[in-house]
Symmetry: C2
Subunit: 145 residues, 2 copies
Amino acid sequence: MKISTKGRYALRLMLDLAVNNTGEYITVKSIAARQELSEKYLEQIIPMLSKAGYLKSIRGAQGGYKLSKTPKDYTVGMILRTIEGSLAPVACLEDEPNECPRYDQCVTIDVWKQLNDAINNVVDNITVEDLVNKYKERGTIDYII
Amino acid sequence: MKISTKGRYALRLMLDLAVNNTGEYITVKSIAARQELSEKYLEQIIPMLSKAGYLKSIRGAQGGYKLSKTPKDYTVGMILRTIEGSLAPVACLEDEPNECPRYDQCVTIDVWKQLNDAINNVVDNITVEDLVNKYKERGTIDYII
DNA sequence: CACAATTCATACTATAATAATATGAATAAG
DNA sequence: CTTATTCATATTATTATAGTATGAATTGTG
C-alpha cells in the first residue's frame, strides 16, 4: 500500500514547477537540484506528465518545462494516477463490470470500495495550488519566527 | 497502492472462520476449499495471525483453527496491518519522529497524512462482525428473491 | 501401536515491480 | 559549430510478490 517514488517525485516536480513559475521555462537540471532528485530519473517521469498534457516543453539550449495550466487545474489524484495508474486498493475494482467469478459471494469487496472512495476523496480534493499555498504559508511562518 | 494477496486472503480467512464457526476447530483444508485458495499459501498466512494472537489452534488429526475472540473484536485494520505491516502510503510516516532531512521543506507530507488518516479511518471502523452481517444479509436477500 | 490427518517450520522458485543509471540521438540558442 | 537541453530507449540491481515443495511434529482413531 505504498505510493511509488515516481508518484511522490512527480508530485514534487509539479509543485516545484508551480512554485518556481516565472513564465520562463524551467530546466530538469534546476528541478533536480532543488528537489535533490536524480536528473535522469526525473527525465523518465516527465514524459508521462507531458503525454497527459500537463507540461509544455521547449527543446534545446534554453529549453525546459512549465505547467500547461494553472496549479488550480491539477489535482493530486490526476498526477498520481498518471504515474501510478489506478489508485484502487485491489485490481478487481478496476474492471467495470467486475469479472470476478466470486463477485456474488464476495463480502470483502465492500471494504475495498470504501477504501477506494476514501482514497479518491482525498487525492481528488487537493490541488497543486493548495500545496503552493501551504508552501508559501510555511515560508511566511519561518520569516516571522 | 495495492493490498497484497496475502492481506486479502487473510481477511477472507478470518471471515471464513467467523462465518463457519460452530465451536469446532476448522481445518485449513476446508477453508482453502470454500475460499478457493491454495492450502499451502494459507499455511503461510496463518502463522502471522496466530502470532498476533488472533487464532487458536489444535495440532494433529481432528485439529484446526478458530478465532481467539469474537468477530467484533477484530477490525479490518488489525488484520491487514498484521499481514502488510503499516498501511501508511509513504514510509516516512512510519518514523516517529520523522527523520527525513527534507521534512521542514516538505509540503507533500500533508497529502500523505491526509491519505493515511482516510485509510485508517476506513479499516479501523469495520470489524469482522460487520462483514459477517453483510454476508448473512446477502444470503437472506438471495433467499427472498 | 500404527497410521492417517493435521499443524507447523522452512526452503525454494519464478515473475514482476521498483528504483534507478547509462547511452546517445535530436533540437535549438548563441 | 559548440553547448545546453529535451527526448528516447536500454540496462541493471534489488526487492517484493505469489506462490510451490518438502518434511518434521503432533494427535486422534482403528
